[in-house]
Amino acid sequence: MSTHFDYLDHLEAQAIHILREVAGQFERPALLFSGGKDSITLVHLALKAFRPGKLPFPLVHIDTGHNFPEVIRYRDELAARFGERLIVRHVEDTIRRQGLKDATGKFPSRNALQTYTLLEVIEEFEFDACIGGARRDEEKARAKERIFSVRDEFGQWDPKRQRPELWDIYNGSIRKGENVRVFPISNWTELDVWSYIQQENIALPEIYFSHRRNCVVTPAGQLLAITEHINLEPEDEIAVRDVRFRTVGDATCTAAVESPATTVDDIIQEILIAKISERGATRLDDRLSEAAMEDRKKNGYF
């Protein structure tokens, strides 16, 4: 045994440290679980942090209703396998309860509507901390996010009022009604997450790996899975392609990439030579404006 640690060991140590701080500092934390690789990695890290004890927080899934069935299956199996508590709340219900306008258009994305359900679930269970899998390398506004990010009662993030975060001392003290979003893998890049999944041999939903799928080709050349939630038109270009997903979001706005990669090793090879960053390749919603992410975060988005 030696004192030499690889960079993944350092990233893992930091994430476990942060998760234990959440458990130590908060009364009612929750882990936001989307079924995507980042939140799956978080669960894996949480098990390392707290086993043989139970996780000191439930897994919470904000279900847009626009799902890939493989992901929902994976989610339920994971919760059952580890015997952890899973809370699912549906955007559909929030829309009905609050009389919100559902997403419309050709690719109706409920991504923005998730915020309402998230705020509802925070209120319902009085969560004081929500752990999420966001990474700073995803996007410019994320690059400035703290690891402990304090939100007001409306879930709003004010970049000018962020608390300075010194050393690895995390100040999670909040006033009533406020809550904290916690990002234990802030310092990981997409490649780091995949390398860790490889090292730890973490199972993922099948849609992360190459499979043949019916897709619609958008005018910008992106591939979207054909599901019951998108509104096809006769002139749409339909293609059968071997694709995989790089992120797992709302099925109507998460594009697939053409890829023959069937294993984590293949994917890592692809990423090493990839020329298009993760969000740019797959998220239609960020293309709308350069400040798109900043606006959504200020409104309480994750």
């Binding site: 045994m1 030696s2 004192t3 640690f5 690889d6 960079y7 060991d9 350092h10 990233l11 893992e12 140590a13 930091q14 476990i16 440290h17 234990r20 701080e21 458990a23 130590g24 390392k48 942090a49 707290f50 086993r51 043989p52 004890g53 139970k54 000191p56 700073r136 390398d137 410019k140 506004a141 690059a143 400035k144 970049p159 000018k160 962020q162 608390r163 300075p164 975060e165 010194l166 050393w167 690895d168 001392i169 100040n171 003290s173 909040i174 006033r175 802030s186 310092n187 890049t189 490649l191 780091d192 990839a274 020329k275 298009i276 960053s277 740019g280 390749a281 350069e290 400040a291 900043e294």
Partner: protein
């Protein structure tokens, strides 16, 4: 492969954002779609040149004001190392952001404009680097392209900085002449400065020795969380979860639980649920102790033969980060990792003039002021002098009402030990 965390500090117009943009751009860390956005944004600017500073100027408020208002983190890697950049703004009222970025940095790049040389901001940034104990410093002399790549200017600035560094007892300084805008000596060696034989900035960042996680230091461990499954299978399990912040522990080590001062022994060390004979910083661990002691979050477990300081009387250098000034008599919460205690300000010994480094007497510390204070805490704190151990010697102060983080503190050797 390991990680180098570094911070960049410079005045508003020293070209800091351009330098970071250049590092990312020339090391191929910028992907196509981000480049496209960059090109589109640059077209909207007057000169139409590819504006690399846009790679780091993240928030809209900054784009409008043309300044960086907060610490932004950027990531890139080469085949030799993974890099985490904390981009700290140089604007005068944002010193707190540099302190924030510096608290986790292995190295600081201090940027000066070759036409200006060492200026007031350079003093401030170097003082912060010194107080925060950043192990490695790079003085990057930028914009040499505007001075015909003059060797003479470079060495004049280097000599002036050397003098400053000696006052601050800064060690391990590397001087590199660059042009971030033109790319000289950032990633590519410069054909314009044949007189410079040293490494490019990136080569230096890739190869500079970083001290291993204080492996030789005394082991320091704070309990973050007590794991008690209370299940049938793990009925009597009681593990103390936390991270080893420095040094190493061995099974069988005689230890003290502090601040209570109870002696016991480590009977088992778990790393990822596997029992190990020895564990090293920065590993997250679960410790099992021989005796059934009342131990809770924030308690320190230290080896009997390498004890930290335990005291309620503290002397610390503070960087004050709040609009409301600090005054003697103020009550605050002191948070040192998992330990939180109430503290009262007994006195402000002096404020440091950040430009001349003189000690000035003052009855308050204002936003961005740095000074030495005496504090008294409600319960004893377990710590080391920051100069000895960056992990156990650092703390933050928290406002009792707003819970904002209002100061960074670096502890000095205790002046008197807690009696009894």
């Amino acid at each position: 492969m390991n990680i180098l965390k570094f911070i960049t500090a410079g005045s508003v117009d020293d070209g800091k954002s351009t330098l970071i943009g250049r590092l990312l751009y020339d090391s191929n860390a910028v992907s196509h779609d981000i480049l496209e956005t960059l090109e589109r944004q640059s077209r909207n600017k007057a000169d139409g040149e590819l504006d690399l500073s846009l790679l780091t100027d993240g928030l809209r408020a900054e784009r409008e004001q043309g300044i960086t208002i907060d610490v932004a983190y950027k990531y890139f890697s080469t085949t030799r190392r993974k890099f985490i950049i904390a981009d700290a703004p140089g604007h005068v009222q944002y010193t707190r952001n540099m302190v924030t970025g510096a608290s986790n940095a292995d190295l600081a790049i201090i940027l000066v404009d070759a036409r200006q040389g060492v200026v007031e901001q350079t003093h401030r940034h170097s003082l912060v680097a010194s107080l925060m104990g950043i192990p490695q410093i790079v003085l990057a002399v930028n914009k040499l392209d505007l001075l015909d790549y003059s060797e003479e200017h470079f060495y004049k600035i280097a000599a002036a900085y050397q003098e400053l560094a000696e006052k601050l007892k800064l060690r391990n300084i590397t001087f590199i002449p660059i042009s971030a805008l033109a790319g000289d000596n950032v990633v590519q060696p410069s054909a314009n400065m044949p007189w410079y034989l040293g490494p490019t900035l990136l080569e230096h960042l890739e190869t500079v020795e970083i001290e291993p996680e204080a492996a030789s230091d005394a082991p320091r461990f704070q309990v973050q969380y007590v794991i008690r499954p209370k299940s049938n299978e793990w009925h009597d399990y009681r593990g103390y979860a936390g991270s080893l912040r420095s040094g190493s522990f061995r099974r069988g080590d005689r230890v003290l639980v502090l601040p209570a001062g109870i002696e016991t022994e480590i009977v088992a060390i778990e790393v990822n649920q596997v029992q190990v004979e020895e564990a090293f910083a920065p590993q997250p661990l679960v410790l099992h102790l021989a005796h059934d002691i009342d131990i809770s979050r924030g308690d320190t477990i230290a080896r009997f033969d390498a004890q930290p300081i335990v005291s309620r009387d503290l002397e610390a250098t503070l960087c004050w980060m709040n609009e409301r000034p600090l005054r003697p008599g103020d009550r605050l919460l002191l948070r040192q990792h998992a330990a939180t205690v109430k503290a009262i300000v007994k006195s402000i010994e002096y404020r440091i003039d950040v430009h001349t480094f003189e000690h000035l007497s003052d009855d308050k510390l204002e936003l961005n002021d740095i000074g030495l204070v005496r504090l008294k805490t409600a319960q004893p704190l377990v710590f080391d002098a920051y100069k000895q151990n960056r992990h156990s010697g650092g703390f933050i102060l928290v406002n009792e009402n707003t819970y904002d983080t209002v100061a960074a503190g670096m502890l000095e050797e205790a002046t008197e030990l807690e009696p009894g």
